[in-house]
């Protein structure tokens, strides 16, 4: 049996075929969930955002135009959602009162940077993985998105360019700058440090 392309499936979804939507969901929910886990570093939130992306795809099914690859569209929605969520969260945390009482005595800058993963996730992570996560987190937004899409989601340069709405050469330049930073930050791991 031939495997239907995402595009064909989505066109069927736009004509009201629920089964095709289920196939698309089953095919992409895992990679998308992992994308969000890497972007927002919160497993439960990542799952909510994954559902939100598919819900938006479903709601926009009748307006769907097959102009680009389905995954480009999917990752564009996902990236916008992830970046908005990160910005909102930073904004909310910045607005929290810093009264200097009890746990609130933590300086605001430290609390803004404190996007800790869940306890379960922390237990599963090794010291080295935590170090990598922090190094990627320290990258500027566009570089972080480019690295995660290129390295972990295996999205090609052309698609990343469409997701970020920049040129293909700009994506390559973003990746180069990101790797230059990572080369310095990850030096201890490259020397075999941390377990």
């Amino acid at each position: 049996m031939a495997i239907d392309s995402d595009l064909e499936l989505m066109l069927r979804v736009s004509r009201g075929d629920a089964e095709s939507f289920a196939i698309l969901l089953n095919r992409h929910r895992g990679p998308l969930l992992n994308y969000f886990v890497r972007m927002v570093r919160d497993r439960a939130l990542a799952e909510d955002l994954t559902q939100e992306v598919f819900l938006r795809v479903y709601q926009a099914r009748e307006r769907y135009q097959p102009e680009a690859r389905f995954t480009t569209w999917l990752y564009r929605i996902a990236t916008n959602l992830a970046l908005n969520t990160i910005r909102d969260r930073k904004g909310q945390e910045a607005l929290e009162p810093y009264a200097g009482q009890g746990d609130e005595a933590t300086p605001p800058v430290e609390r803004i940077a404190d996007h800790r993963p869940s306890t379960e996730q922390e237990m599963l992570e090794s010291e080295r993985q935590r170090f990598i996560r922090e190094a990627i987190k320290a990258l500027p937004e566009n570089q972080r998105v480019a690295v995660i899409l290129h390295k972990y989601q295996e999205v090609d340069y052309r698609q990343i360019a469409k997701v970020l709405k920049v040129s293909e050469s700009a994506v390559k330049s973003l990746l180069f700058r990101a790797y230059e930073s990572l080369r310095v930050r990850l030096e201890p791991l490259m020397q075999g440090g941390l377990v």
Binding site: R29, F54, I132, K172, R183, M190
Partner: protein, 191 residues
């Protein structure tokens, strides 16, 4: 790095397979004879292999599909209940009710206006006093022969009040009377 070394960006492009076949061949030939460039190339490859270690590989929770189905069903039912121009059925039903209410209010207001004296509320007192004068005139006519012109004058006054729309602002006219009655030479107004 030596002066004939490749640019770092080119070395990175080689490590990430961004170069064309011809460019790649040239770059590899340079790397074979240049230890500095080879070290840079290796450093990018090591970054890549370190990044490979960060593989959270999360799986969707067991209730993911059920929640997704519920969300899609809710979105579907919301769409179904939306009708022409995006208004729900309930809102469409509310429109004729609101229109009927407006028509009824308009009719009641119109009938109320029609039932009022033509001069409006402002001249009610003037009309009443003129009417009283008309009613009182026959008695005066009996008592005095000069009553006939008085009755005539009162009737004229009543007609004037009823016909002049300007008297709608009766209070304003009454105010003019008060000003006209001010004694001459009392132009100074006390603070």
């Amino acid at each position: 790095m030596k002066s004939n070394c490749m640019k770092r960006e080119q070395i990175f492009a080689l490590a990430e397979s961004m170069l064309s076949a011809r460019e790649e061949e040239q770059a590899r030939a340079h790397l074979a004879g240049c230890e500095d460039c080879r070290k840079v190339f290796e450093s990018y490859r090591r970054v890549d292999s370190v990044l490979d270690e960060w593989m959270p590989e999360a799986e969707p929770s067991p209730w993911f599909d059920a929640r997704m189905r519920a969300a899609v069903a809710a979105a579907g039912s919301a769409n179904r209940s939306r009708g022409f121009l995006g208004l729900t059925l309930n809102r469409w039903l509310a429109l004729p009710a609101m229109a009927s209410l407006l028509v009824i209010t308009g009719v009641v207001a119109y009938r109320d206006l029609r039932s009022r004296p033509s001069g409006g509320p402002g001249n009610t007192a003037a009309v009443t006093s003129a009417a009283r004068a008309v009613q009182a005139a026959p008695a005066a006519q009996v008592a005095s022969p000069a009553g006939a012109p008085a009755h005539e004058a009162a009737t004229q006054e009543l007609k004037m009040y009823q016909n002049l729309p300007v008297l709608e602002d009766y209070d304003m006219l009454a105010g003019f009377d008060v000003i006209s009655e001010l004694p001459k030479g009392s132009g100074k107004i006390a603070d």
